[in-house]
Amino acid sequence: MDLLEYQAKQLFHEMGIPVLPSQQINHPQDLKGLKIPYPVVLKSQVYTGGRGKAGGIRFVENTIDAVAAAQTIFNLPITGMYPAVLLAEAKYDADRELYLAVILDWSARRPLLLGSQRGGVDVEATIGAMQQVVVDQEFSPFYARRLALKMGLQGELIRSVSAILEKMYQLFLQKDLDLVEINPLAVSSAGELMALDGKITANDDALGRHSDLATLQEKIPHQIKTKMLPRDLADTTLVELEGNIGILCNGAGLTMTTLDLVYKAGGRPASFLNLGSEYRHNNSPEVLRERIQRGLELMMQSKNLKVVLVNTLGNVMLCRQTAEAIATHLQHQAGSRVVPFVVRLVGDQFDEARQMLRTLNLPLFHNLDEAIAEAISLSK
C-alpha cells in the first residue's frame, strides 16, 4: 500500500525527521483558516510521480490566490485520479537536493540503502549517480555513514545525512515497509536538512499488524485502492480485458498460463479471476465457494462475454467447491442470458464434481489444451 505524501510526512515527523510546517486541506475554504505564513505551496495528494509537471503543485502568495489554486487542483485529475486532500506547506529555499531511500532488495533478501547527490525531479534520469549499500547483517549506523561517503558527502553532512538515514531505517523496520524514500532532501545554505517530499510503501502482507497504517488506507482515493491485492472475500478482484472469454483459475502461475494459451490459440479473454493459491492459512470451503460465486457474478456483467473457461487444479476442497459454485450460479441464472461454461477440474474430488456437473450437461475436460480449444470455438 502506498501512502500519500502528507501521510508519509506525518510518520517522518513522529520519527524526528525534519519536515516543514504544513496543514491538510480537505476543502478550498479550509485555506481561510491557514496557520502557515505565506508564501505557501499547495500540493495535490495523489500517488504518482510528475505532479509538478501536471500542474498539481502551485505556489501562492495570499488567501484569494490560494483558494482559487486549491479549486483548480481539486478538479485536476493526475493520471486519472482526483485528490481528496491537498497539502499546504511553507516554502523552502534549498541550496542542494539529495535523494535517500531504504528499500527491500528482494533477491539479496536484505535491506538496501540508496542515495544520490542528484535528487529532485529528475532522479530517474540520473540513476547512474545512485549509490547503494546492502545492510547484510543487523543494522548499525555505520551502514548509513558508508552510504554518505559513497555519495561523496563531506564534513558535517556525513553525520547529519546518516542520522536521517538511521531514522528512515528505524521507520522501515518498525512499520514493515517496502520503501521509505525522501526526494528531495533539501540542504539549505546553512547546512540544515529538510524532507521536502516523501514516499512510503507499506507492505500489504504486514498491514494486519499495523492498524495505524491500515486506517490511513481509508483516506486514500478509491482508484488507488483497486491496486490492493485480494486478501479476503471482500477484495475479490476481477481483471477486465477486451475480449469475450471469461477465465477463472486458482493460482497466479496457472492463471497466467491459461491466459497465455488462450491468446496463443487466437482467443481473446474478457476478464480473468485468480481464486488464489491454496496456501492461505484460513481458506475454508465456505470462503472459497463464496469467492467463486462472487467472481462469476462479476464476470457475467461483461456484455461481450460469450463463454466462461474454468481451470482449477488442486486436491483438497477446490474441485468440489468449484462444481458447487457453478451449479448454484447456473440455478440462479435460469431463465436469463445463459453463457456456456467449459470446465476443467483436476483433483482428487474430480469424480464427485463431475457427477454434479454432468447433471447440468456441462462439458468437462481433463486436458488443458483441449479445454482451451473448446472455449475458443465457443467464443467465435
Binding site: 540513476i127 517496502d178 520503501l179 507492505n203 499488524r209 496456501y279 492459512h281 483436476v346
Partner: protein
C-alpha cells in the same frame, strides 16, 4: 514434524503426508499438547516433542502468517535444519530476519507460500496432490503453486517421472532460491534432467539463467508463465506483481522478454506450453546422451 498441525491447512495436509509414506513423528500446536491427530502425537513445544520422539529431519510449517517466523526460529533453535513454510502472506521483514538466521545456522528453508517438496513414491513435505506425480528421473523446480501440479501432471502422463519436485515459493522473499535447488538437483544421482517453471515478475529466472551457465551440467528445460500479459497487470498475489515501483529502478527486469532472453543465453529450451515440456525433455536427453557417448 508438522508445526501448526491443528490449523486449517495443517489438519488437512498432515494426514495426507502421513498416508503418502513420510514418517510424521510429531505435530506442534501450543495448547493442544497430549492430543493426537490421526495417530500423530501433538506437543506444545518443539523441544518437548524432540525429547519424546528423537531426531527430526524436517519441519513443515502451517501456522498463521505472523507466527511463521517464530515457529521457524523455534525449530532452528531445537536443531532442525530443514524447514518447509507453506503459509502465504509472511511479511518480508520476517523473512529477512529468518534468512539471516538460516544462513548462519546452515538451515535449508523452502517457501513461504509454496506447495513444498515431494519425492514421488517416497515422501511428501507439503501440499502436492500425490496423484499427479510418479517416480522417475526429472527434477522439477518451480516458483508457482498449482502450475507446478499442472506441469508434474503433463510430465507423468508423458512417462517422465520425477526424482524430486518442489515449489520454492511465490513470495518476493523466499528461503531457498532457484540456484540452490538447481545445484541440489545437479548433484542428485537420481536426476537426469531439470525442468524449471517460472513466471513473470522478480529477477529469479534471470539470476537462475546466469547460474545455469556457470554451474549446471545437466540439461535444463523451462516454462515461463505470463508471456502474453501486459506488464502492468497482475493476477492476484504479491509474488506476481509485475511492477517494480522501487525508486524507478529495474523496470526492465522481470518481463517475459528479459527472462526468455536470459534463458536462451543459457541455452535452455523454453516450452510454449506445459504440454510441450515432455518433447523438449526428449530432445535434450537425446543430445546429452550423444555428448556423453562422444566424451
Amino acid at each position: 514434524m508438522v508445526q501448526g498441525i491443528t490449523e486449517p491447512l495443517g489438519s488437512i495436509y498432515a494426514p495426507l503426508m502421513q498416508v503418502y509414506g513420510g514418517q510424521i513423528l510429531a505435530g506442534i500446536s501450543p495448547g493442544h499438547g497430549g492430543q493426537q491427530l490421526e495417530g500423530i502425537p501433538v506437543f506444545d513445544l518443539v523441544e518437548q516433542a524432540l525429547l519424546s520422539v528423537g531426531v527430526v529431519d524436517t519441519s513443515v510449517i502451517f501456522v498463521p502468517p505472523y507466527q511463521v517466523l517464530d515457529a521457524a526460529l523455534e525449530a532452528i533453535a531445537a536443531g532442525i535444519r530443514q524447514l518447509v513454510l507453506v503459509t502465504e502472506g509472511v511479511p518480508p521483514m520476517d523473512m529477512m530476519h529468518l534468512c539471516r538466521v538460516a544462513e548462519a545456522s546452515e538451515t535449508l528453508v523452502v517457501g513461504p507460500n509454496c506447495p513444498g517438496i515431494i519425492v514421488p513414491g517416497q515422501i511428501l513435505l507439503g501440499t502436492h496432490p500425490a496423484e499427479f506425480y510418479t517416480p522417475g528421473t526429472v527434477g522439477l523446480v518451480s516458483r508457482c503453486g498449482t502450475l507446478t501440479y499442472e506441469v508434474a501432471r503433463e510430465l507423468s502422463q508423458a512417462g517422465f517421472g520425477q526424482s524430486i519436485a518442489l515449489g520454492i515459493g511465490s513470495d518476493r522473499i523466499i528461503g531457498s532460491t532457484f540456484q540452490q535447488w538447481l545445484q541440489i538437483l545437479d548433484e542428485d544421482e537420481q536426476t537426469e534432467a531439470i525442468v524449471l517453471v517460472g513466471k513473470i515478475g522478480s529477477d529469479s529466472e534471470e539470476v537462475a539463467a546466469r547460474y545455469i551457465i556457470e554451474a549446471i551440467d545437466k540439461p535444463v528445460v523451462a516454462y515461463i508463465a505470463g508471456r502474453t500479459l501486459p506488464q502492468s497487470q497482475y493476477t492476484g498475489h504479491a509474488g506476481a506483481v509485475v511492477s517494480s515501483q522501487i525508486a524507478g529502478l529495474g523496470d526492465e527486469i522481470g518481463t517475459a522478454e528479459s527472462k526468455i532472453a536470459a534463458l536462451k543465453q543459457a541455452k535452455v529450451p523454453i516450452a510454449e506450453r506445459p504440454s510441450q515440456l515432455p518433447d523438449l525433455l526428449k530432445q535434450v536427453l537425446k543430445s546429452s546422451t550423444k555428448t556423453s557417448a562422444k566424451s
